[in-house]
Symmetry: C2
Subunit: 302 residues, 2 copies
């Protein structure tokens, strides 16, 4: 019997994540910049990426979790969330998706102007790398350097930013489902994969453990996006906290437009099962949180 | 007699910098992203920041320059230039300075659209940190981590992005000259300071050498901005390669508006002398390149 309570586990982790973000995202950055940065990051979001970092770290470290590992894990968790938050800020801007609602609140550019949003996003990206490189910390330099390398790669041209570029170029164009998968592997998948890899790195995991987590993260990343496409069709704006039906309105290719609603649901379930299988096949000991997060990705309503 | 030829030195360094940027800024990033990134970075710019990195590294290492130091220095030189390039791309966008000309060419958003420019800038920032963390390299992890930390701090809310925020908030507002200095210390100065500190870190310099370079970099950073303000008044657009007279047109406070043209020239000369003095007071052995760069900053025509 599995007595693991994913809700309770998530709540505990998120309390620490929120406290850390409160502490690390500066209130006193000049000329309103700090205020816009905090608005973009605090008090909202599902925090899936930080949870993946922490669940992966715990899965790798098990009972051997040390204080430097915990610190590295929390910094990695917050750093990846800052990258995610900056990408949302920029993605919502008028020249991109032109969205006015995010996490149930006006988007950053609506509240702070476009220039304010542009700068807040830029500064959030820098801050992510600053968080990963504390000078007076017990985190080994090797871990700091690898965390920076993983995050830079996942966020950059070969990862998230590259996926955004494909997305941008694909509006109104007929993509194949292979191209759609490639786009999402970059746009959403890369940062989810990066999250589990950063968790493994924080725990200084073996190559074997890291590879198992990578398989998990890759399947989960696509599953997440398939569910996103489903929810864009089936959920309403107030539940989503962002504007529903945007994909169809923008004539964007989605898994639903390719596979139909039923087909997309089957695809999501198959991918989530694949993620679970990667855990089952691994030598990782404490995988309940990772299992719970994969369940959540499949069943989420927003 | 000083037989050091700063022109020849700069040309040699820049040949390596350009080759490295050609190699490291990807041509094959998806959906035109790589093309926009390369357009923003290659074939243009004064490359002052990379030259400062390399001159500082050489001043600290002297005859003890090793291959890992050289590699760290070149990666740092290119990384700081990528941050500078991204900041120009975003700064030129319509919601910021709305400029159409940069380095004598159409700005990135004019050529690739606003969304393309936004993404290219974002991806350039990520790439900077990717360059600093090569996994298979001889650069010590400690150096990689510190280079990331320095760059993140210099680029972020307490540095360049913070300065941009002050700049943005200051249009049409009466700043004191102390506030103007604070703005420029962040906006331009932070990344110039960061350049000399990264050079010192690449060479694993002593605290003493690093502090001397910091004094030099601080004075040079303000001098650079004072000269920028002078050139905005005295130079024409074709010489500058960017639109002249923008500051007055935008009613921006400048050193010239505070001190007058003559006063600003005296200020620039005093700051450049201060930078030279920091070198003279230091125990650094090979300071000719740094001296030459300070001369150039004072005398530059564009």
């Amino acid at each position: 019997m599995n007595s693991f309570d994913i809700q309770a586990w998530s709540s505990r982790q998120l309390m620490s994540v929120e406290q850390s973000l409160m502490q690390w995202v500066p209130a006193d950055a000049p000329a309103g910049l700090g205020e816009a940065m905090r608005y973009a990051v605090l008090d909202g979001g599902k925090r899936l990426r930080p949870l993946l970092v922490l669940a992966s770290m715990q899965a790798c470290a098990g009972d051997q979790l040390t204080a430097p590992m915990s610190e590295a894990g929390m910094r990695a968790a917050c750093a990846v969330e800052l990258i995610h938050a900056y990408s949302l800020v920029h993605d919502d801007m008028p020249c991109m998706d032109n969205d006015v609602l995010r996490r149930g609140k006006p988007t950053v550019h609506v509240k702070y102007g476009q220039a304010g949003a542009l700068l807040a996003g830029d500064a959030l990206q820098s801050l992510a790398f600053e968080l990963l490189t504390p000078q007076d910390s017990a985190i080994p330099a090797q871990v700091q350097a690898r965390l920076c390398g993983l995050l830079a790669h996942g966020a950059g041209h070969a990862g998230m930013a590259g996926g955004q570029a494909i997305d941008l170029a694909s509006v109104g164009i007929q993509l194949s489902i292979a191209q759609l998968r490639q786009m999402h592997r970059c746009k959403t998948g890369a940062l989810l994969e990066t999250s589990v890899l950063m968790g493994a790195q924080a725990a200084q995991a073996s190559m074997q453990a890291t590879n198992a987590l990578l398989s998990y993260g890759q399947a989960l990343g696509i599953a997440f996006q398939v569910v996103d496409d489903i929810l864009d069709v089936t959920a309403d704006t107030s539940t989503l906290g962002k504007t529903a039906g945007k994909d169809a309105e923008n004539n964007k290719p989605t898994y639903v437009s390719f596979l139909g609603l039923d087909g997309a649901r089957k695809e999501a379930a198959a991918l989530a099962a694949q993620a679970q299988q990667a855990l089952a096949d691994s030598a990782l000991l404490q995988t309940q949180a990772l299992q719970g997060l994969a369940d959540w990705v499949l069943q989420r309503q927003h």
